[in-house]
Amino acid sequence: MSSEIKLIKYTIKKPMTLKYPSSLIPEKKYSQIPEVLRGLLQRDNEKCIGCKACHYSCSGKATTFQYKENKLIIETFTLRCAFCGYCQEICPEEAIKLTKTFEITINNPNEREAYITTELDLLKCKNCGKYFATKKFIDRTYQRLIEKIDPIIKESVMNDYKKIEEYCTDCRRMLSIKLNTHPKKYVWLEG
């Protein structure tokens, strides 16, 4: 009987219930919103280069991409998103960020609000006329290449890159002998 009575002292306490949808007392609406909260995904259209790394790393298969004429469209279906934050970690340009927004309920899953879309312009291949990669992607690859490359072969690689810049991957392979950009020549150089 005694511990029943001792439990009485726990009964005197303010209610823990949050007054959730009511915003009369804002601090009573949420228990906390921490700084590190993983909420709705946000993709910076300026920073995004269209490398599709987020698509290949997405654990929930929420991020997809498609080529539409001269556009590359990267879409994240937020209802499939698991908020794991793996794309944020993997993004080479730090374009993806998980914001603190978490009230993302929508009425109709087919609404456009459910998608986070990034549209990027594609380059046209000079040879075959196929759209192949974004301008930003080519530029960034070029930058990274010259950052990391061995200074001995730097100049010739830069020249070669300038030549093949405007061709798609298939055409690069096809035209590599004609333009004298075949990577085998570096092997000969080293040998």
Binding site: Y10, V36, G85, Y86
Partner: protein
């Protein structure tokens, strides 16, 4: 090496024995016909079965894998903790002598082999389906079982029943029952209110998570592994990562290990508080439910401020963790945990001494040490029967659980009933808070790397990973193809073992105790009984009979029937 296991097994194989040592495991290749004899030797030596499973090697047949834990036996093989026996069987005649007839520990696992892979363990004591419905066509026998006729007119058949049975009534508890939130049926036969017989049927929610992980590869699988269970998500994440890291030879930074321990223990605290609430609810004490869940909210808030999410932490990575803890948050969390510990230890004392709670829990759901040992109980259920097993000590996951660095001890109780299990869990919460405080001490004082570089290609092709989830031992097994992609993953959750012991605990109890006994082992299942097909906004609900007809038609089309 007083009792060398290899010598004993060499008695069966005089002509040589294929074995290799990989990490902490001894892998021995055996003939499938000898599996039951080996099991007998191992069980007599006091070894425990971790899991019995099989892998489909496509054209090469099946590979049967038996994993034994030898940490609680006299066998001493340097630092070997597990022995893995492997046997290849052909697809033409997929048979091997059953281990289930030797020990109950393997029965559910072998039923799974039978139902989901089509392997026939000869001599399995209980041949009914466990995960598939009883009336489902048997993939092994390749013929229809008797489907109970569905009576459309509403005329019920007269049952011919002996007089003794007429006093008894069969009560199905589940799959939809307010006392048991998750989907399983426990059939109990009652005389008045006393239970005279009980049986359990599971398999109402097969999600195929193992196949989904196989499709994704081992890098992305961790997010799915965390979502196997919403309560012990942290434990699943740690076990998965332990298993995946065992494939590589990598050194994990110390700070990452501390963060992992911290989160795994916070996970355990919140799970045990939740469990206490559920048991309070089951015995009709809504107040206890509210109080313990109120305390649990604070743990969730701490977890949220560290990882950014309340339930799925998403910070487990191969080679470390993805998020660091700042000094301020560590200090803040430490203060909150200390407050919680003080409050909980006082409240738990009152709860444990409450006369009505005592009368509801003491000597309910008896499980003696011998029963727990033979049935292969794990976790608090085993520790409540006085069996001192804890994976954190025996076979630690990749986190800091070294008792020389962090002081903690295994909690056991000799009560062997539901009350003992409650006491074990209450004490474990207090032990876990101690571990958490020690981890936060370290994290607030020092800094360092949290992730190390991982090689491109794993060095092993198979690995096991164990972790002590709040409910017991969690077992992961991974096997890779030669080209570094995931061939198979096998997961054995703790409830898989403990649920098999429910009928044993129920006999002799009162009907009012059924939810208490089921709750006392902290089972973790999920449930669905029929499929709702929504196609082009037309909703069609498929009934049970439709599904059976569909499956029969499908089997006929494939030529199986």
């Amino acid at each position: 090496m007083s009792e060398n296991i290899i010598n004993r097994i060499k008695e069966i194989y005089p002509n040589g024995l294929e074995y290799e040592i990989s990490g902490n495991w001894l892998i021995i290749k055996v003939k499938p016909e000898e599996l039951d004899k080996i099991a007998k030797i191992m069980i007599n030596l006091g070894a425990r079965i971790n899991h019995v499973t099989a892998i489909d090697l496509e054209s090469k047949g099946f590979e049967i894998i038996n994993v034994y834990d030898i940490t609680h036996t006299n066998i001493s093989l340097d630092n070997i903790t597990n022995i893995i026996f492997k046997a290849n069987i052909s697809k033409i005649k997929p048979e091997y002598p059953s281990i289930g007839k030797i020990t109950w520990q393997a029965v559910w696992a072998e039923k799974e082999l039978k139902e989901l892979l089509g392997i026939n363990p000869i001599g399995l004591p209980d041949s009914r389906h466990q995960f598939l419905p009883y009336e489902w066509p048997n993939p092994v026998e390749s013929k229809l079982r008797e489907i109970p006729e569905v009576n459309i007119d509403g005329n019920y058949l007269q049952l011919k029943m002996p007089i003794k049975e007429a006093y008894q009534s069969l009560i199905p508890i589940g799959p939809y029952h307010p006392g048991v939130i998750e989907g399983q049926v426990v059939y109990v036969k009652v005389e008045g209110e006393e239970i005279v017989a009980a049986d359990i049927k599971t398999g109402f929610h097969h999600r195929g998570i193992m196949k989904l992980i196989e499709n994704r590869g081992y890098n992305r699988g961790v997010f799915l592994a965390e979502r196997i269970c919403g309560i012990c998500s942290g434990a699943h994440g740690l076990a998965y990562i332990t298993c995946a890291e065992n494939l590589f030879d990598i050194e994990i930074p110390e700070r990452a290990l501390y963060i992992r321990t911290l989160l795994a223990e916070l996970n355990r605290i919140h799970s045990h508080l939740l469990w206490l609430g559920v048991v309070a609810d089951v015995i009709g004490w809504k107040t206890g439910f509210m109080y313990t869940w109120g305390l649990r909210e604070r743990i969730l808030d701490i977890i949220e401020s560290i990882t950014g999410n309340r339930i799925t932490y998403g910070i487990w990575r191969i080679g470390g963790v993805s998020r660091d803890i700042s000094k301020e948050i560590a200090i803040k969390a430490k203060r909150a945990i200390e407050e919680l510990k003080e409050e909980f230890s006082k409240m738990a004392l009152e709860i444990a001494n409450h006369p009505v709670i005592k009368s509801r829990l003491i000597s309910v759901g008896k499980l003696t040490y011998q029963q727990a040992f033979n049935g292969g109980a794990v976790g608090p259920t085993a520790r409540g029967s006085g069996w001192k097993i804890d994976v954190r000590k025996d076979n630690p996951p990749h986190a800091i659980y070294d008792q020389s660095i962090i002081s903690w001890e295994i909690v056991t109780d000799e009560g062997c009933d539901s009350y003992a299990r409650m006491i074990v869990r209450i004490k474990e919460v207090l032990v876990s808070t101690d571990i958490v405080i020690q981890c936060l001490d370290y994290l607030s004082k020092r800094s360092g790397e949290i992730k190390s570089k991982v090689e491109e290609k794993p060095s092993k092709i198979e690995a096991i990973g164990l972790n002590e989830a709040p409910r017991g031992e969690l077992f992961y097994y991974m096997k890779l193809y030669e080209n570094n992609s995931l061939q198979a993953i096998r997961i054995r959750t703790p409830s898989y073992r403990n649920n098999a012991l429910i009928p044993l605990m129920l006999i002799g109890c009162n009907l009012a105790d059924v939810p208490v006994v089921m709750g006392s082992i902290d089972q973790c299942l999920a449930c669905t009984d029929r499929i709702e097909v929504i196609k082009n906004n037309h909703r069609k609900i498929m009934r049970w009979e439709d599904l059976i007809v569909m499956s029969v038609n499908m089997s006929k089309k494939k030529g199986l029937l």
